[in-house]
Symmetry: C2
Subunit: 146 residues, 2 copies
Amino acid sequence: MAEPEGRFRTMVDRLREKGHRLTPQRLAILKILARSEGHPGVEAIHRQLIQDYPNISLATVYRNVILLKELGEVLELGFADDGNRYDGNNPRPHPHLICIRCRRILDPDLPDLKEASDRLANETGFEILSHRMDFFGICPSCRAKG
Amino acid sequence: MAEPEGRFRTMVDRLREKGHRLTPQRLAILKILARSEGHPGVEAIHRQLIQDYPNISLATVYRNVILLKELGEVLELGFADDGNRYDGNNPRPHPHLICIRCRRILDPDLPDLKEASDRLANETGFEILSHRMDFFGICPSCRAKG
DNA sequence: TTGGCTGCAAATATTTTGCACTGGC
DNA sequence: GCCAGTGCAAAATATTTGCAGCCAA
């Protein structure tokens, strides 16, 4: 896990560098994403924000998450069935371990996929740009609950 | 790639065994999914069906795909941004290689992830039930087009 | 000052569901 | 004949967009 403080500053710098404004709402979203505690979804981010910005809109969260995604500062974990989840703490592709009961998402340590990725590129002629590796299961806590 | 004909029969048997009826629409959907040419989405499946069943509803396609997914006879590749895609030819989890331009989806040969999966289970206490492994890139044909 | 950003509400896109009717078994 | 399955339309869910006003630079 990267230092949330460092990630926050990196994101701020990147936004400034690209000429984007630093509104209070945007900064608050950055802070949450720099931590990405539990890989929050848009709804969860919004819920946290409302404490300090009672009128903040979901649309604002969406717009900022999209912006950061385009800048490569947030990794989007898209799910078709449930809302998407975001990781601004480690925006590079990495494997995830997902509990299908409580929806908790962990970052397990696994050797990366560069080798497989390179081989695939050679064999297929694809230019491979990213990947997604999710393991689905039931976490210890949910298993205990039966 | 499994024999579409064999997959079709397996699916029919499984439905019968579970007491589901074999309507003409359902059988037509099975045939398309047994091939899963290009990993079709619901829309693509529906488009093929309309030739023989002009009044067939999208809802029917959804309902059957969901049923087969629950029976483990179809693998759903959920995408948050675009519609979901389905593989009834090989319903076990396996890696996919996806062109982000033309949305073509291939099944590359890769060593499976059982080892990594088992290790994860041991290290984290998760009961791992399935996984998803996607590589995203640009296919040779789209690269040629610039 | 001003154009990017925000809040709000309406629009999209995809998938699900209620309901009456039909047809597989 | 019964009830799962179907077609249709409406609803639900998640995300995007138009627009008027606001504020960061």
